[in-house]
Each structure stands twice: as structure tokens, then as C-alpha cells.
């Protein structure tokens, strides 16, 4: 049995008196591609924010590769090998594409807070950044300030920054949001390429993406997971169809 890359146990989150996440248990296996779907307002982004420690959990525990990471700060979780992307591109807008990605590799290469290394001379950082830029298809825009990029380019950069650190567990928050059909296809190919051999958890609305990419799917409704399984199993589960997919999906 493959080990659990990510394990959530009875995770709950309340904002004031409103409970958004109401007891989520989730196991994501190593090298698995796991999608989380659900209707709007189900709490998918909140769940991501909890896993990546953007918000603290109200109760419950989160384990990363067997280690309890509940209550850690985001940068601590990042250093332990979990990286996430954002639904709204969260990039360094005044820095070039190259610098954006290079910043994301620095910690994993061990440079930490060094002010004695000449950054432009660090071959390993530059090479790794360039390889990632090529993987995300932005080589021609290497020197462009990130704020000037097009929407799709920024989404690609967003993914680039996320995988740059070499984390084994990648969280992608709606990577194809706002994209046209062809852009979505490119994005899916990109995601498949760059997450090869890694554990991927993603939130997605586009069903074609989900069913094309995911090994397993969890369905989140009103802060609870009502079903987990392979795409085929999920398609059959009546509770899911009722809660979320509706009749249109029955034909997909």
C-alpha cells in the first residue's frame, strides 16, 4: 500500500460562529493525482488554505508525509515539501519572470537568507529556474516584468513558481480558471508534464479536466466530503449526482 502523502483527520474550520469545514477526513496517496470538486461555497478553497496553513484549523489534524504539520506557518510547510498555487495569480509583480521563478528555488537549494552569495553567479539557481521556465513555456518572456504578462501567461507562471521548489506535494487551486478551451488544454498538458512523479491535489470546476487528469476524486459539499473514489465510481454515486453533478452530467 502506497504511503499517505497527505492525511487530514476530522479537520474543522469555523469563522466566527459559521462552520465552513465540518469534519473532513481525507487521504491522498503518494504520487496520486487527487481532485477535489464540489459546488460553489462548499469550502474547497478554504480547505486548501487550511492544508497550506494560510488559515489555522479550528480542530483536527493534518499530516504531511507522516509528519503532523497542524499549526505550522506556511513557510514551514513549504519547506517540508508542500507547495500550492493560488486561484488569483499571486506573483511578484515587479520582478521578471526569471526572478519570480528563481526566488522560488532559492530556499530548496539551501541559500536561505544569504547576503554573501552573488546571486547572478549562482549557476544552480539560474539553471533550475531556466529549466522550469522552459517547462511552463515562458522562455521568450524570461526578462518580462510579471505584471505585464497576459492572464494565461500569469497562470503558467503561477504554476511555475509553485513547482519550482521541487516540492513533492503540489496543491493547485483552479489552475484553469478563466481559460478558453484551447488554453485549458495547454494548461492540462502543462500540469501533467510538471507534476510527473509528484503528488497532486487540485481544486477544479472544469469536469473534463478533472476526469481527464485525476486518479481519484473527492466531492466536498457544505464542508464535508460526501464521496471519494475513482472517476468511474464517483460518476455512479447517486449522492454526488444529486448534490452536484445534476442530470447534465449523467450523459458525460
Amino acid at each position: 500500500m502506497t504511503a499517505a502523502a497527505l492525511r487530514l483527520a476530522n479537520v474543522r474550520k469555523s469563522f466566527g460562529r459559521t462552520e465552513i469545514i465540518r469534519g473532513v477526513d481525507l487521504v491522498v496517496h503518494e504520487r496520486e493525482r487527487h481532485a477535489i470538486i464540489g459546488p460553489n461555497g462548499a469550502g474547497k478553497s478554504t480547505l486548501f488554505n487550511l492544508i497550506s496553513a494560510r488559515f489555522p484549523v479550528t480542530s483536527g489534524s493534518i499530516e504531511l508525509k507522516g509528519e503532523d504539520v497542524t499549526g505550522l506557518r506556511p513557510f514551514q510547510i513549504q519547506r517540508r515539501g508542500l507547495s500550492r498555487s493560488f486561484q488569483i495569480s499571486n506573483i511578484f509583480h515587479n520582478l521578471s519572470v526569471f526572478d519570480n521563478v528563481r526566488c522560488a528555488v532559492l530556499w530548496s537549494l539551501g541559500y536561505r537568507y544569504s547576503f554573501w552569495h552573488r546571486l547572478s553567479r549562482l549557476r544552480d539557481a539560474s539553471d533550475r529556474a531556466d529549466r522550469i521556465i522552459e517547462a511552463i513555456g515562458l522562455s521568450r518572456r524570461r526578462a518580462t516584468p510579471a505584471s505585464v504578462l497576459s492572464y494565461a501567461e500569469q497562470r503558467a507562471l503561477e504554476i511555475g513558481i509553485t513547482i519550482a521548489s521541487g516540492a513533492e506535494v503540489i496543491l493547485l487551486d483552479e489552475p484553469t480558471a478563466g481559460m478558453s478551451h484551447s488554453e485549458t488544454q495547454d494548461a492540462v498538458a502543462l500540469v501533467r508534464r510538471v507534476t510527473e512523479g509528484k503528488t497532486l491535489v487540485m481544486v477544479e470546476h472544469d469536469m473534463s479536466v478533472v476526469f481527464g487528469l485525476a486518479d481519484r476524486i473527492s466531492v466536498l459539499v457544505y464542508g464535508q466530503i460526501i464521496a471519494t473514489g475513482t472517476p468511474a465510481e464517483i460518476r455512479q454515486t447517486p449522492a454526488v449526482r444529486e448534490a452536484y453533478l445534476g442530470t447534465e452530467f449523467a450523459d458525460a
Binding site: 494560510r54 493560488f86 530556499w107 552573488r118
Partner: protein, 420 residues
């Protein structure tokens, strides 16, 4: 990709070095050398400030603390040298200031970087006030109202240099300034330096690539404190006296102006700003009492219309030049030149008249001479010409601006939009 010290950069450095070396010889007057010394000190101070603002996005209203404490540390060291008769190369004395700046950066920086952004600005103000207020409570350490003084001439050092002459002092300042500029520039090309930029742009994302933004900020405060302390050491040696003014809120305010007017978005911006503000301060102050007011106006207008400062304006015009648009822009400037000059003249006259009126001892007569005409500020009629100048000038200026905008002359508007 440009390496840190590419050929064009080395050329600039060499030119700068040449300028520094030759500058004192350009004028025999005593005030020229003093001016250059002050510019050198301010340059290091302003650059250290911009490590925080331009590079890390931290607006500090209390940066004079590190400058002042560095100055006091240096003067204490110097006094100790005289009192206890031990020798130490005066040339290296600014390091004492730097060390003090570093240590206080470590101590105070921890408190100030607990929060970021606007809160940091307020906290830095509070800490600045606290240190300034404390300085009057410990006369032994800070010399009370009179400050502390000493003599930078100790036993002859290397090559018989005693720093007795202002010229020798100038070269000491110039040398240290050059080294500090190199050091601070080199810092921009380090992992910490680049992550400081990242934290400035998006602290949340910086956290999600594995960096603790608070630690990045803290280290930058410590390093900036070091360089500010060196500047403080230089000022202690230059004037041989340090008072509480050195760490006051107004010193913190002036360095903000220097960096901002020069341009916080470019490394060389504060260098320009320090020179300009120092010159203005000394030159304008000798001509009119209203110089702080003009400073305030200049600063506020820049914030609203050119937040990239002078360096930003130069960069923008370089872009225009590259795009072949510079000629058109210059034409527009020419068109607006006369109304602008009229407006400025009017404002200056108004301000000067107000000062003259406030300071006049004779009731009913407060004369101001401008362009051979004497205006009486005590009489309402005397105010008419400048008011008319401002109104007419301002009206024409708006007319020109509107006309340019309506004709699709969007260059100036793009200038306003692509700032900072």
C-alpha cells in the same frame, strides 16, 4: 543577462570615482568642500534608507535612530581615545558607527519588524520618538542640549594623515561613501536582497516559497542600520559634534525626502536625491526663510504627480527617447513652460510675502522686492499681482494640459500613469 559588474556598470563606477576625486578641486571656496562632505554623508544615509523602502517596501519614519546612535557611538569612541590616550586609526572610526548601527538594528529591529506595512511605519515613528526623547534623559550619554563634541585630530595616522584639514576629511568621506555604495549595490544581488524585493512585492507569496517575511525584513533592517551607522560615524567626524538633532524626527523626515525625491525605484535615485536636497537646503536656505515650505510643496507635488522621483522621470524619458517620442514631449513641455513659470513665480512671491509680513516689525509696511518692483505685503493691494499670476498661470496650464489630452497627446498622461 547583465552580471553585477558588467562593462557599462564599471564605466559608470569609474566615472563616479573620477567625479568624486576631482570634485573638491572645482572651487576654492570653503563652503564648497563642506557642501561636498555633507552630500557624501547624506548619500550613504539615503541609500541605507532606501534599502528599506525601495528594496524591501518598509517605510521607516525613524531611520535617524541608527544614524544618530552611530554618530554618538563614534564620538564616544573618539572621546575615549583622547581621555584614555589609546590610538586607533581614525580612518576606520566610521566602523564604530556602523557597529553601533548594527547592534541597535539587531535590538530595535526585532521590535519594529514584528508588524509590516503601515503598522511598521507607525512603530518606527514611535521608536524614533522614544530614542529622541531618551536622549534628553541621559545627559551623560547624549550630552543634553549641547550635545557631545570631540576632536578628530589624534596622533598622526598612516602617511601622517591627521584629518585636520577639511580636504582630508572630504576624501575620507568620499572613500567610505564609495565603499558603502559598492556594498549596498552588491547586496541587491544576493539571495537576501532579491527575497527582500519579493517580500516587498508580495509577502504572502514569499512565505509560500519558503521564506519568513519577518526574518527577511529584520535582516534588512539590521544591514541598513549598519550603513546608516557608518554615515553617522562620518557625520560625527566631520562636524566633531553630535547633538540630539542627529537622531530627531526631522532628520528622519529629511532622509525620506532625499530618497523619495531622488527616486525610490532605482538604486541611484537616493544618490541624486541626497545631492539635490542638500544643495537646495543650503542654497535655498541662504536665500529665503521659507525653504522648508518649498520643500514641502516639492515633496507633496512629487508624491502626487511623479512618485518615481527624479530617477523615475529620467527613466520615463529614456523610454520615450527609445520610442522616438521624446521630441513630441519636449514640444509639449515648451508649450506649458510659460504658464508653469508664471504660476511658480506667483506662488513663490505669495509665500515670500507671507514671510515678510509675519516678520515685519513696522506696522503697515512689509516690503518685498521682486524683479525691481516693490510689493507691500501689509496692504491687500500688494497681494494682487502674485495672486493674479497664480490664477492666470494655473488657468493657462490647465488649458494646455486639457488641449494636449484632447488631441490625444497622451504622452504626458502616460508619464503620470507609469510611475513607481
Amino acid at each position: 543577462m547583465k552580471t553585477l559588474f558588467s562593462r557599462s556598470r564599471l564605466l559608470v563606477l569609474a566615472a563616479y570615482l573620477a567625479v568624486i576625486v576631482i570634485a573638491p578641486l572645482l572651487s576654492p571656496k570653503g563652503y564648497w568642500l563642506s557642501l561636498l562632505c555633507q552630500i557624501g554623508i547624506s548619500t550613504v544615509f539615503a541609500l541605507s534608507f532606501n534599502m528599506l523602502l525601495g528594496q524591501t517596501g518598509l517605510l521607516s519614519f525613524g531611520h535617524a535612530v541608527y544614524f544618530g546612535l552611530g554618530a554618538f557611538a563614534t564620538i564616544h569612541f573618539l572621546r575615549a581615545m583622547h581621555e584614555h590616550s589609546f590610538s586607533f586609526p581614525v580612518t576606520l572610526l566610521p566602523l564604530a558607527g556602523g557597529a553601533a548601527g548594527l547592534l541597535f538594528g539587531i535590538a530595535l529591529g526585532y521590535v519594529t519588524t514584528r508588524r509590516a506595512g503601515t503598522t511598521f511605519a507607525m512603530i518606527s515613528l514611535g521608536i524614533g520618538e522614544m530614542v529622541a526623547a531618551s536622549s534628553l534623559m541621559f545627559p551623560g550619554l547624549f550630552g543634553g542640549e549641547a550635545g557631545l563634541s570631540s576632536n578628530r585630530m589624534t596622533s598622526p595616522g598612516w602617511f601622517g594623515i591627521t584629518y585636520g584639514s577639511q580636504l582630508q576629511m572630504y576624501y575620507l568621506i568620499a572613500g567610505w561613501a564609495f565603499l558603502c555604495i559598492l556594498g549596498m549595490f552588491a547586496l541587491t544581488d544576493t539571495p537576501l536582497g532579491r527575497m527582500a524585493n519579493a517580500v516587498r512585492d508580495n509577502p504572502e507569496r514569499a512565505e509560500f516559497v519558503g521564506y519568513d517575511p519577518q526574518w527577511v525584513r529584520y535582516l534588512m533592517v539590521v544591514l541598513a542600520g549598519f550603513f546608516a551607522g557608518v554615515a553617522g560615524g562620518l557625520t560625527a567626524l566631520n562636524y566633531e559634534i553630535v547633538t540630539a538633532e542627529t537622531l530627531s524626527a526631522s532628520t528622519s523626515g529629511i532622509v525620506i525626502m532625499m530618497a523619495f525625491v531622488g527616486g525610490i525605484g532605482h538604486f541611484a535615485g537616493p544618490i541624486v536625491g541626497a545631492a539635490l536636497i542638500t544643495v537646495l537646503q543650503i542654497v535655498v536656505a541662504s536665500v529665503t526663510e521659507a525653504w522648508p515650505f518649498y520643500f514641502g510643496i516639492l515633496f507633496t507635488v512629487l508624491v502626487l504627480y511623479a512618485p518615481g522621483g527624479i530617477a523615475g522621470i529620467v527613466a520615463e524619458h529614456k523610454r520615450l527617447y527609445d520610442a522616438g517620442q521624446l521630441g513630441r514631449v519636449l514640444q509639449q513641455y515648451l508649450l506649458g513652460l510659460v504658464p508653469f513659470a508664471l504660476c511658480c513665480l506667483g506662488i513663490v512671491t505669495l509665500v515670500e510675502m507671507a514671510y515678510v509680513l509675519a516678520n515685519s516689525s513696522e506696522p503697515g509696511n512689509a516690503p518685498l522686492h521682486v524683479f525691481g518692483v516693490t510689493l507691500n505685503a501689509a496692504r491687500p493691494l500688494g497681494w494682487a499681482p502674485p495672486v493674479i499670476a497664480v490664477v492666470v498661470g494655473g488657468f493657462l496650464l490647465r488649458l494646455v494640459a486639457r488641449r494636449m489630452a484632447s488631441r490625444g497627446e497622451t504622452v504626458v498622461t502616460s508619464l503620470l500613469q507609469r510611475q513607481a
